[in-house]
Each structure stands twice: as C-alpha cells, then as structure tokens.
C-alpha cells in the first residue's frame, strides 16, 4: 500500500541570477513498511527533501501525497497537526526539550494533542529502547545514544505513518550508531513502521531495504536489496 508519493517536486531558493534549485523534479513512491535510505553528499538536497516530506518546508512546485493527502497544499495549522500525527522526526542532535523529563519529552506529541496515553504501548516502547529506568531524568543527564533512543521513542509514540530520520547516527560513535540503526530496523520489522532515513554513511544505508541516491537535487539511483 502506497503511503507516500512525490510528484515532480521542485524547491527553488532565490530568483534571477542567484536562483538555486535544491530539488529539481523528484518523483518517488514509498510503500507502507518500507525502510528507505536516502544518500547523497552534503548540498545534494537530501535534507530539503526530508523537510518537505515532514511538512516543515513547502515545495515550490509539485505534490507530496502522504496517505492520499497533499501536504504541500496545507496551511500552517494543518501542517502542524500533520507533523504531530503523521510524522515522527528524528534529528542528528536529538532535539529533546532540555527542561522536561524524558517521560514528558516522549509523551509531548500526545500531550500537544490532548490525548490519553496508552500506558501499555508506552511501556513497550521504553522497554524496547532500553530507557525505562531513565524516564525521570533530564535529557542532559543521558548519553548521546540514550538521548537518541528517547528521540526514537518520541517519534514512535504517536504511531506515525512516516518516520523521518535525518542523520540519526551522525553525532554518535560507531557502537551507539549501530544500536540506533538496529532499533530502527526492529521498529520497521516489528511495528511495520515506514522509515525514511537520510545519511551519508554508506554502512548505515546498506542496512535499509532500499537506497535512493540524490545528486544535485535529482534522484540518480533507486536500488532495492536483493534486486
């Protein structure tokens, strides 16, 4: 089942002579439950693509359909609700709120939406991510790997349609980085979570089912594991 479709998305910054096309006609379709890695050098447009998929930024042209809704046509309020309910975002620098406990950080998407917490599911997530004993700590009391695991928990708590990860291992050592990739794979396999991961690390990308390569704002290759 198709969960994401991009129709010829373009993103242009500036005008006239200083015109820069960060994305130049991206066409893409992602099925539910796929684990996709997007590779590309810095400046290739991969972060712009991720921001557009996450509803943080809007394309200059083209359609981005997530579960059949065009997010490029949303207003700001709608986009905020979309991000909260449909997208889980994981960043390189975790982006946890430093003054809130890990528990509150994880539950933030639900609290913003005034929803009740499903305690059983919450338990399952924090147990699986190995942060059950860190819930009352503040983010700066945790190691980088633990903070990133908390960020994964936050992104999963709403059971989003799409999980977008922007260089999630970029700030971690090899061992912690491997753990994070393992956990993403586990959530992909066990929760059937659709994941789009952006990386410039080939080793990380090889863990995905499908690898897209971006160069100068265009998709130059799309390869699936075993094909």
């Amino acid at each position: 089942m198709e969960i994401l479709r991009c129709d010829n998305i373009k993103k242009v910054y500036g005008a006239g002579d200083s015109r820069v096309a960060a994305l130049d006609g991206i066409n893409l379709s992602v099925e539910k439950g796929e684990f996709v890695a997007v590779m590309g050098a810095s400046g290739s447009g991969k972060s712009t693509l991720l921001h557009i998929l996450g509803g943080v930024d809007k394309p200059t042209e083209g359609k981005v359909m997530v579960e059949g809704t065009d997010i490029a046509a949303m207003n700001r309020t709608q986009a905020a609700i979309f991000r909260r309910r449909k997208v889980g975002l994981i960043y390189q620098f975790y982006n946890l709120i430093p003054t809130l406990t890990i528990r509150k950080n994880i539950l933030m998407p639900l609290l913003l939406d005034k929803r009740k917490v499903n305690q059983e599911y919450f338990r399952q997530i924090v147990d699986s991510l190995g942060i059950a004993d860190k819930l009352e700590a503040l983010p700066n009391q945790l190691s980088g790997g633990q903070q990133q695991r908390a960020a994964i928990a936050r992104s999963l708590v709403y059971r989003p349609a799409l999980l977008l990860a922007d260089e999630p291992t970029g700030n971690l050592d090899r061992r912690n980085g491997e753990e994070i990739v393992d956990l993403l794979k586990l959530s992909n396999r066990n929760l059937n979570q659709t994941i789009i991961l952006i990386t410039h690390d080939e080793k990380v990308a090889l863990e995905a089912d499908r690898i897209l390569t971006i160069e100068d704002g265009r998709l130059v290759s799309d390869s699936r594991r075993g094909k």
Partner: protein, 407 residues
C-alpha cells in the same frame, strides 16, 4: 451513551434551564417589589415633609394599602380603574413605552432566545451527524471493497477517531496484502515440498529396480545403502517440515528461561562433534564470562547447530568455525563465522528463504536449516542476519533483544 439516557439527559438539561429562568424571574420580582416599596416610602416622606399635618393620614393610607395588597389578604385583584388614570396619567408615560410595543418587544425577545437555544442544540447535533455519516460512508466504502477514499483532515472532536480509523484501515490493507503474499508463498512451498520429495523417491525407486535386476550380493548391498540414504534424507526433510509447520501455525512453544550463551554454543558443538571430525574442521568457542539471554535452550541449540553446519560446509579441511558473544543494555549478540569463501553475493538476500539453495551448496541440504534458525530466533525476540566478513568468510549474527515492540 444509550439513546434513552441521551434523551433523559437532554430533558434534564432543558428542565434545569427552565428552572433557572423561573428562579431568576422570582428573584427579580422580589427586587422589583423592594424598589416599589422604596418609591412609596420616598413619596410618603416627601408628603409628610411638605405638609406635616398629613402624616397621620398618609400612614393610615399606607396601612390600608398594605392590608389591601398584602398576599395574606387573599385577593390582590384590582377591579377599580387605576387612580391616577382618572387624571389623565398613564403607565405608558412613566415607562416611556406603549404597552403594545412592550408586548411586541417581549415576544420578539422570547422567540429570539428560544431560537438561539434551539440553534445551539441543533447545529452541533447536525454537524456531528454529518461527520458520523461521513465516517460511516468511508468505512462502508472500504468494506465493500472500494479503494479507500481518503478523508480530508479536519480538526474537531472526531479527528482522533478519524486518525485511528485510518490507522486501522491501513493495517487492514497491510494484513490483506500479507495474506495474499502468504497464499503465494504457500503455493510455492507446496511445489517445493513436492519437488523435494520427488528427488529421493525417484532415486530410491531407481535403486530398488536396479537392485532387483542385480545378481551380485555386494552390488545389492550397495543399492540397499543408497535406498537407506534416500530414506534418511526423506526422514530429515519430514522432521524439518513438521517443525516449520509448527512455527507457521504458531504452536511452537518456546520456553523463556535464562540461557547461558557459552553453554548453548558448547552443547551445539558437542552434538556436531562427529561432523566436525569427519570434515576436519575445528571449532573455537571462547569463554567470555557469563552472558545470558531469556529464551529456550533446546531450540536455540538446534538453531545454532544449523548455523554451525552451514559454516562447516563453507570451511575446507583444516578450517575452523569461530564464535563470539557480547551483551549490551538492548540485546545479547552472538556471532558465528568461518574462514571459507563466504556467501555468493547473489545468495545473501535469499539465504533465509525456504527451500532456497545457493550456489555450491552440498546435495544433501534442502534449504530449510537457515530459515528454521531464523524463525527460532525471531520467536525469541531476536534477529538473525548473515554477511561476509571483510577478510573473507561467512558470518552469522544473532541479536536477541531484551524487549521488543509488538503490534
């Protein structure tokens, strides 16, 4: 809430607001009377001050008025015309409003408030009804096999319901796709099983036929051996199939007890001792202290044996199979590898597919050992992957998680 209860609650609310209105009216009546009393008092005071000789008469009049209008006097009906009206004054002049206008204005206000109340009750009701109908139509379309029209995102009391419905429907589609896929796999598996049965049976039949025609005893014994080998192969196939069927049916019950990794690896190696010796392959299991996980000893050992057998096949005479294990807060990891040529690149994605047989695999294998091993680890919250080592050689990597997400 049931319909009856809902109606009762609405009636109760209407009753409550009516009671409120009546109560308020009574309060204002009381306030009005107090005002009238103050006016009368002020009037009498002025009169008494203007002509003190009239004080007595005024007080007598007040007393008479009180007796006349007191609720205790029983009747408050005024039959005579209003006194001041005889001199040409009218109540309308004092209120600044004609009585006809007053009636019209109060009618309009009453209608306005009734309509307002009705609108306040009816409009949300109509909206909720429309949303309920929309969501029902959506589900109906899905149930009747439509391709799931997507509802526009709307922010209201129903949006969480809509969100959860959408997730459920997505899950449903996914399950349907999986079911179709599994059906295809089932057909493939059946074909594979038939094929796997056919080869030894044909070989055994051929050997039997040749044996009948053969005169010499030694040759006959040779054919009997061949038949026996084919039967053994059938036997092991049947055992593997039984286990696979149990895994598929979800009836393979695994224990969850503390399992020591070193013990499991050693037991598996002991069970394969003869094979190791035959092939001239050695096994190295380091003692890295107490590393444990929650799982089933027997089945883990079976799975590890399958992995070791695979490594033995890949190692030549004089080779070795290595093991290594570690633990972290998330999982216990076990690695088993050899120093052979490694997997063929095109085999790696299919290694754990049932009945898949890669290049250069010996004749005896049926392609069930590795899928079975993977199933055993998956049933224990684990994963099993395979890759080639940079220095050559095939490596199996097992990760058994302490906790794992479930749907």
């Amino acid at each position: 809430m049931t319909n009856k209860k809902c109606r009762f609650m609405t009636a109760f609310a209407v009753f409550l607001s009516l009671a409120g209105i009546l109560g308020l009216t009574a309060l204002y009546m009381r306030e009005y009377r107090r005002g009238a009393f103050l006016y009368l008092s002020a009037f009498c005071e002025t009169m008494a001050e203007e002509s003190p000789e009239m004080e007595e008469a005024v007080l007598a009049c007040v007393k008479k008025y009180c007796d006349y209008s007191s609720p205790r006097s029983g009747t408050r009906k005024r039959t005579a015309p209003v006194f001041l009206e005889q001199y040409g004054y009218s109540g309308e002049e004092f209120s600044g409003m004609l009585s006809g206008d007053f009636i019209a204005a109060s009618t309009i206000m009453t209608i306005m408030s009734v309509l307002g109340l009705a609108w306040a009750v009816w409009y949300p009701y109509r909206y909720r009804r429309a949303r309920a109908v929309q969501l029902t139509d959506y589900l109906e379309e899905i149930n009747s096999g439509g391709e799931g029209t997507v509802l526009p995102a709307q922010e209201d009391g129903f949006s969480h319901l809509q969100d959860e419905m959408h997730k459920t429907v997505t899950q449903l589609y996914r399950t349907r796709e999986q079911a179709v896929e599994e059906k295809m796999n089932y057909a493939d598996n059946l074909a594979n099983i038939a094929h796997q049965l056919k080869t030894p049976i044909t070989a055994a039949l051929l050997s039997l036929q040749l044996m009948k025609e053969e005169e010499s005893e030694t040759e006959k014994a040779e054919y009997a051996d061949r038949v026996a080998r084919q039967l053994e192969r059938l036997h092991s196939l049947e055992e593997a199939l039984l286990v696979i069927s149990k895994v598929d049916a979800g009836v393979l019950r695994l224990e969850r007890k503390e399992v020591d990794v070193y013990t499991v690896l050693s037991l598996a190696a002991d069970n394969l001792e003869e094979l190791f010796r035959q092939q001239g392959v050695s096994v190295r299991i380091p003692d890295l202290g107490c590393v444990t996980f929650q799982g089933d000893m027997e089945w883990t050992m079976e799975a590890v044996m399958n992995l070791m057998k695979n490594c033995i096949e890949h190692s030549g005479e004089g080779g070795a199979v290595y093991c290594d294990y570690s633990v972290n807060p998330l999982y216990t990891q076990i690695r088993i590898w050899d120093e052979g040529t490694g997997f063929a690149a095109e085999d790696i994605p299919h290694l754990f597919e049932r009945f898949y047989r890669g290049k250069g695999v010996n004749e005896k294998g049926v392609g069930l050992g590795l899928p079975l091993a993977r199933s055993v680890f998956e049933l224990q919250n684990g994963t099993l992957t395979a890759h080639n080592l940079p220095q050559g050689g095939a490596c199996f990597e097992i990760k058994i998680y302490r906790h794992s997400f479930h749907v």
